[in-house]
């Protein structure tokens, strides 16, 4: 599928939390970012970005993954939207998408509950 260069980050993760490394590789695979030989898909830029997103959304991991899979999938998406960005920008970019979508989901859920109780 690809080649990783994030050795130091990955080994540290495997020491403290190997499940997280597993989740990150699994998510990148499902996102399909590396489908078209995009360079640096498994680089420390993306690994750190996803690690930080997992940390930020620790209580809503599945929701975060679903948002990314819905909104940010595909090698073309990665090539056009993420590849030109630096590491911090990638985090901001993806975090913006996730937080907006999660807010929308929460709003819709609350609206449905209100409608049911009314």
């Amino acid at each position: 599928m690809g080649s990783t260069t994030a050795i130091t980050d990955a080994v540290k993760m495997c020491q403290k939390n190997p499940e997280l490394w597993d989740k990150i590789l699994d998510l990148i695979g499902r996102l399909g970012w590396n489908g078209n030989d995009n360079k640096g898909v498994y680089s420390s830029y993306n690994i750190r970005t996803l690690r930080n997103l997992y940390a930020k959304y620790a209580d809503r991991e599945k929701d975060m993954e679903n948002v990314l899979l819905t909104a940010c999938s595909g090698s073309e998406y990665y090539h056009n939207n993420l590849m030109p960005l630096a590491q911090r920008q990638r985090f901001d970019y993806l975090n913006q998408i996730i937080s907006t979508r999660l807010e929308n989901i929460d709003f819709l859920t609350q609206s449905k509950r209100k409608a049911k109780t009314a």
């Binding site: 080649s3 990955a10 540290k12 490394w21 590789l25 990148i28 498994y42």
Partner: protein
């Protein structure tokens, strides 16, 4: 801890042991003469001296990391640590490289530390210190992978296994 404080601490021990002033110069001179005659191996001069014999120069670092030095002292391993590099100025052994090794062995009261005596002046020592890292190969993260996999370090094994599960390769990957 500042280098001055470390030098002061070691000087107190030197004074108690009578290793200061003329006595120090005489002992150092005798050790150096003997080593030059008897301990020259491949152009290098090696000798074993108590760590308190070695002074720390003020032109190098301004602080000594006590935790780091203590760890070296308690986990001292001849195979891991190179000999400390030392040169002589005004009849005193002055540390050129290995300050933490010397202070670490001093803290745990080791009887002797292996030193390599450099026959250079103070100016030459400073220039050598400035250039020492330029041509030395620095180990990269990928250099640790294969040896760690051979001795089955758990984090490296987990790293390789998880990568293998997701069909992700890395430089240094080994077939198991």
């Amino acid at each position: 801890m500042s280098v001055d404080a470390v030098n002061e601490e070691m000087q107190k021990v030197r004074n108690i042991e009578g290793f200061s002033g003329d006595a120090e110069r005489a002992i150092v001179s005798s050790l150096v003469a003997s080593a030059k005659a008897n301990s020259r191996i491949g152009g290098k001069i090696y000798l074993v001296v108590p760590p308190m014999y070695i002074h720390f120069p003020k032109w190098q670092r301004c602080r000594v990391d006590i935790n780091h030095a203590s760890r070296i002292g308690t986990e001292y391993n001849e195979g891991k640590w190179d000999p400390v590099k030392v040169f002589v100025v005004n009849g005193q052994f002055v540390c050129f490289e290995g300050m933490h090794r010397v202070y670490g062995t001093f803290l745990v009261n080791r009887q002797g530390v292996l030193i390599e005596l450099l026959e250079i002046s103070l100016t030459e020592a400073i220039y050598l210190f400035l250039s020492q890292g330029k041509t030395r190969y620095q180990l990269k993260p990928t250099d640790y992978i294969r040896p760690s996999l051979v001795v089955e370090e758990p984090e490296y094994v987990a790293f390789q296994d998880i990568c293998h599960t997701h069909n992700v390769t890395f430089l240094g990957m080994m077939t198991r």
